[in-house]
Symmetry: C2
């Protein structure tokens, strides 16, 4: 039954989301605008502070100024913004996504489904508790391992740095306080792998992590359809990406001085970081054109729903590809792992994808127009790469961020926010769907967004 | 009721479509590979012949060799390929699209709609007859008017040329036998407007033309929802495109030597030709970056369903934008002109869009990879522009077509075919939907593809 009171509650939820993130951004911008946040010789404007705050809260990692030039105070503010931004979204999304009764209906009222679910029903308070505990535990373990790598390379303030980078990696933020970024780890297996594990874990999404945890520790539990799709797709994405980067960077300057076996590490790192961590162990601008184009695809796909990663999400890409492959047989529904995917699920995937493409196109066009007043000194690839990086909150750049005009910077700020909070708000339920527990083919539910 | 016999018939329809176009392409390639088709001093390879034949049958207009170097025999072959390619698809699509009982179901069986239609039911034979008559009539009128323009500019063989260009314009093919293309018409209102009218008429689609004809000539007829959307969207697209090109080319070399009022004509022409005729009165490579990016958007959108135009189609873009604007209220269905758009319709739009984006991305990536073996001498914009032009069968180019490597040419050939025949095959019905004539909100049906 339609319940107007219910509607008001859910609309409030969406308002709370926006209010929450906008408040953090305002506080962050203010704190980062104080001279105390920057070393005295650093030049920065209000837009730079706003850009850095939005980039941190949206866990993007793009920056118009070198954050190495921040004071410890500035770095701590940044760390908190990343943690709150990352955890905030993970908490919101885990709550919305894990509660199977609340669904977004993008289709018309006549096609509301008879819905029979085998998903787990979870208590919101329990979710928040477990998200916090899980995040902090993983980040602490990560920091512990990073400490040894950082000590080895004599990175100043190794305790703070390892905490900062562990949080930045798990939250898929990609900010680094090391001068020159992570390029020192290009050939360092231990440090590289620690980063990769943190990134992949953070980008899987809480639902997947909890499901795997339950699967290992409890009896009579089967993996959710969502988890299966995530695991298979993520493996395929990581290894095909690695193979492609390996091939197209093999003879390139980025892999210079490495043997054929040593080249696997940076190829793997590039494959993982591109969806959507944003750290780099090789200079992105030096990559070959094919590698840059492959990066565009991986960036747009992003990580898991309800994770710290951005992009249209792995499952969304999976569904879209699935429909394209199964094609016209889709009147039988999309069948994956012996489960039927509902039409509403597919429509959600399509809308998510469409919205992302349109936003990124508007972003590219806007920057091209803005830069045309300043002599159009950037290439189409540079601007496209920057816009994809912003909408998917990746943070990789071909090196143009700080040279952009003020209007272009504002467009990137908007794109980051739209890509993170705007796209996410699509999955917040608006209405309760009537659930008739008619026994029928069970439907598997795949998370979108 | 599901009827296996029905399924076989429809699958045959799809096979016929592919067989039909592949046969024409083989015949065309063979004819264009004969030396008799080319002036003796011309160099061309088998791939060039294949490319030209596919480009003609898919009414794209891209070419790896200069068409001006063809003999009259070659030009006549080209003309026939364009006419058969354009008319063939218009006939196939008008038949599939105009018969309201047959619908593609991309959603699962449970959400088959109670379908109440006010669309007109038309006889297939009648459709073929009226399509042929309409096409030939418009092309003859067009040729008649073009003749005067061609006579004025002393274009050789003015009778044949005006027929060729009238067909090429109505079929949205964009091939021109005039050395230097239509740039002589940049500032010529009469010739320009004749071309624009032919392009727009051809790009509207037979269903729209017939509907407008009925609306004017018969009583008690209301415009179809599809027609209303097409008319409104086309007007908005043409005039907003014109305005944008006017602004971004105003001070550019492309509009050199024109007064502010004279600049309106080429801006309008560029806006119309980009969706998906492919003629050019200004050099595309000389356009500003914003104009090139705007062209990408217009190319992808294309023209009307069941027309000679390509792209994802105006109504598809309309639905996608509509869902994005109405957003989360979409559980009430998308409401346009007091009609409700079904979820199946929206899903079709999303799939169409998704397929196009994925094909064009693969095309860009493939060409980047192929060209990386030849020194990557093209920019990302040039390759992106070429790929968008191919998938949407536009035919505009930043001037790289003939310099592409053989593999890249083959990729463009594939992209043209996929964009024209592949995408179109998505709308062919596979299954008959059970129609329950339960009285309910009437649903308007919008054509996709
Ligand atoms: K990031
Ligand atoms: K064309």
């Amino acid at each position: 039954m339609y319940n107007p009171a219910m509607r008001i509650i859910y609309l409030k939820e969406r308002d709370i989301l926006f209010l929450f993130f906008i408040s953090i951004i305002i506080i962050g911008t203010t704190l980062l605008f104080f001279p105390i946040a920057w070393q005295s010789d650093k030049e920065y404007t209000f837009v730079d502070s706003l850009f850095t705050a939005v980039s941190a809260v949206c866990v993007t990692g793009l920056s118009t100024v070198d954050i190495v030039g921040m004071t410890l105070f500035g770095k701590i503010v940044l760390l908190i913004l990343i943690q709150v931004g990352g955890l905030g979204l993970i908490t919101f999304s885990s709550m919305f996504l894990a509660l199977p009764r609340k669904k977004l209906t993008l289709a018309n009222t006549k096609i509301i489904q008879n819905y029979f679910t085998n998903e787990k029903i979870v208590d919101p308070k329990y979710i928040i508790k477990i998200v916090l505990r899980l995040t902090l535990t993983i980040e602490l373990i990560g920091a512990f391992f990073l400490f040894f790598s950082f000590k080895k390379f004599d990175i100043p303030d190794p305790i703070f740095s390892s905490i900062f980078h562990s949080v930045s990696a798990f939250c898929n933020a990609g900010f680094s306080t090391i001068p020159g970024g992570l390029e020192i780890f290009r050939n360092q297996a231990f440090g590289s792998v620690t980063f990769m594990l943190l990134i992949v874990t953070g980008g899987m999404g809480f639902v997947v992590l909890q499901d795997i945890f339950d699967f290992i520790c409890k009896r009579d539990v089967v993996l959710l359809l969502h988890t299966k799709i995530m695991l298979v797709s993520t493996l395929i994405l990581i290894f095909s990406g690695c193979l492609l980067f390996y091939i197209f960077e093999f003879d390139n300057i980025t892999f210079e001085g490495l043997t054929w076996s040593e080249k696997i590490l940076p190829a793997l790192f590039q494959s993982i970081t591109t969806r959507t961590a944003g750290f780099n162990t090789i200079n992105q601008g030096d990559m070959t054109m094919p590698s840059k184009a492959i990066s565009l695809g991986l960036m747009l796909i992003g990580g898991g729903s309800g994770s710290t990663a951005g992009g249209i999400k792995v499952t969304t890409a999976f569904l879209i590809l699935g429909v394209l492959v199964q094609g016209l047989n889709a009147d039988k529904g999309l069948t994956v792992f012996k489960r039927k995917i509902s039409s509403i699920n597919l429509t959600k995937a399509g809308i998510f994808f469409g919205k992302a493409i349109i936003i990124v196109f508007m972003s590219i066009l806007g920057i091209l127009i803005a830069e045309s007043f300043y002599g159009s000194k950037f290439t189409f690839m540079e601007i496209t790469f920057e816009s994809f990086s912003a909408i998917a909150t990746v943070g990789l750049s071909l090196g143009i961020t700080s040279d952009l005009s003020v209007i272009s910077k504002l467009i990137i700020i908007f794109t980051m926010f739209a890509g993170r909070i705007g796209l996410f708000s699509l999955i917040i339920p608006v209405n309760e769907i009537k659930i008739d527990r008619i026994i029928n083919y069970p439907e598997g539910e795949v998370l979108i967004g």
